[in-house]
Amino acid sequence: MTDNILVIEDLHKSYGDLKVLKGVSLKVTKGETVVIMGPSGSGKSTLLRCIVRLVEPNSGKIWIDGVEVTDPKTDLKEIRKHVGFVFQQFNLFPHMKVIDNITLALTKVHGLDKEKAEERALKVLKKVGLEEKAYAYPGQLSGGQQQRVAIARALAIEPKLILFDEPTSALDPELIGEVLITMEEIAKEGKTMVVVTHEVDFAREVADRVIFIDHGKILEEADPEKFFTNPEHPRLKSFLKRLLERV
């Protein structure tokens, strides 16, 4: 194996008659940050969910760090132990304190003892700048803080790969910055990340590669500079035009 953390080969997924992914192939190497963009309904969330089999693909193969995710014999828990997932709606557990949101998986899934788990939780909270909110409840935090806690929760499992599904699109504009900065710091530390986002500045400054997906297919893949200044595919051109006008 090379240092590919994620390999996707010819992935197909349909919901009933609706073909959502029509042969997606993708490689992400260790330490890379890949940004995925594409119109609403193009299959971005479905793609991320397939990677950890929150959604079952119809065909195609996926490997994470050399382990085949799509092999029916593979233990799902073993895969998910090594992949962090950050959702658009944060999906923190509202009935638990911030620290318990983070330690729950560490103790119940990763087998850490309580003390170790709390130590690690405080460490990742510090990293996202929310150490002092450890004993607050999610509902007592702003949206931006909640998403940073969700990022901390994903980081705490020391994942090989973190998937972000539009992490800032549920946030008020003034709260987006703090989340993007947190993500940028994580990327700089060398974490491997796949980020679905429409934040152009983030993609330009942080991404190693940007991917355009439309109607279930990858139509373009380029470094950010080329992606934004010299796009080739006509659909990407019109997509970028709309995206940049919106801002």
């Binding site: 709606q89 990763h110 409840y137 999610p138």
Partner: protein, 239 residues
């Protein structure tokens, strides 16, 4: 004459209060039994309801079928008939005999269990999908996700419905007069039968039920406050 009507009414109130006052201890004993039966039935129904409600959404078809059968059967038959079956039918069929209070608790508990199962199920269904997704993405099994994430939230949401069920039970215990349980309504019947003061007696009885139900809803509000998730406006309020 309006003056006469007013003074008649006043005299009547004085009479009722005097007459009832001496019977209060007798009625309160009945009320105690009413509360006892309702609370025991509620607890039994709560245990059944939580188990059946969870089975109902377990994703295991045989368990879901068992739970559905239970809920549909209980909800599809009259409570009075269920009481008659437990008190008169079961002893003859099996030789197992319950005293009236026990039969009452058992039947009302089994009955309430079906309704509470539906409450639990709706609570679980009311938790946003993302919660389960997040839990599973962290590597929890379906059952772990239910246990640590979904059910604790669902139970908080359904507290008002549970309390409503307790209030219903308090009132429905009056049905147990058909098997001769000496609860509040039955005691009212005694007093009414020898005094012929049907109207006054049953009004008083109704009043006592009303007070009990009001107390229950007050307690409910305290509990709701206590288990409220900090930062969420009302219990069950979502982000």
């Amino acid at each position: 004459m309006p003056i006469d009507a007013v003074s008649n009414f006043f005299n009547w109130i004085v009479f009722v209060v005097n007459f009832m006052w001496g019977r209060i201890p007798f009625m309160l004993d009945g009320a105690k039994l009413t509360v006892y039966i309702a609370v025991m039935a509620f607890i039994l129904g709560n245990l059944i309801g939580i188990v059946m409600g969870i089975l109902r959404v377990s994703g295991v078809s045989i368990l879901e079928a068992i739970s559905t059968l239970y809920i549909e059967t209980i909800r599809g038959t009259p409570l009075v008939v269920q009481i008659l079956i437990v008190y008169f039918g079961i002893p003859i069929a099996t030789g197992i005999r319950f005293d009236p209070v026990m039969a009452g608790i058992l039947t009302m508990g089994l009955n309430s269990g079906a309704y509470q199962a539906e409450i639990v199920r709706s609570g679980i269904k009311g938790i946003p999908r993302g919660q389960l997704e997040a839990a599973e993405s962290l590597g929890f099994t379906y059952w772990q996700s239910m246990r640590y994430v979904i059910i604790p939230q669902a139970l908080r949401i359904v507290i008002p419905a549970f309390v409503n069920e307790l209030a219903t039970l308090l009132k429905d215990t009056s049905i147990l007069i058909i098997i001769g349980v000496h609860e509040l309504t039955r005691r009212g019947q005694y007093i009414a039968a020898w005094s012929y003061r049907y109207f006054e007696v049953y009004i008083t009885i109704a009043f006592i039920y009303l007070i009990m139900v009001l107390i229950v809803s007050r307690i409910a509000r305290l509990i709701e406050k206590k288990v409220r998730i900090p930062g969420l406006g009302v219990a069950g309020g979502r982000l």
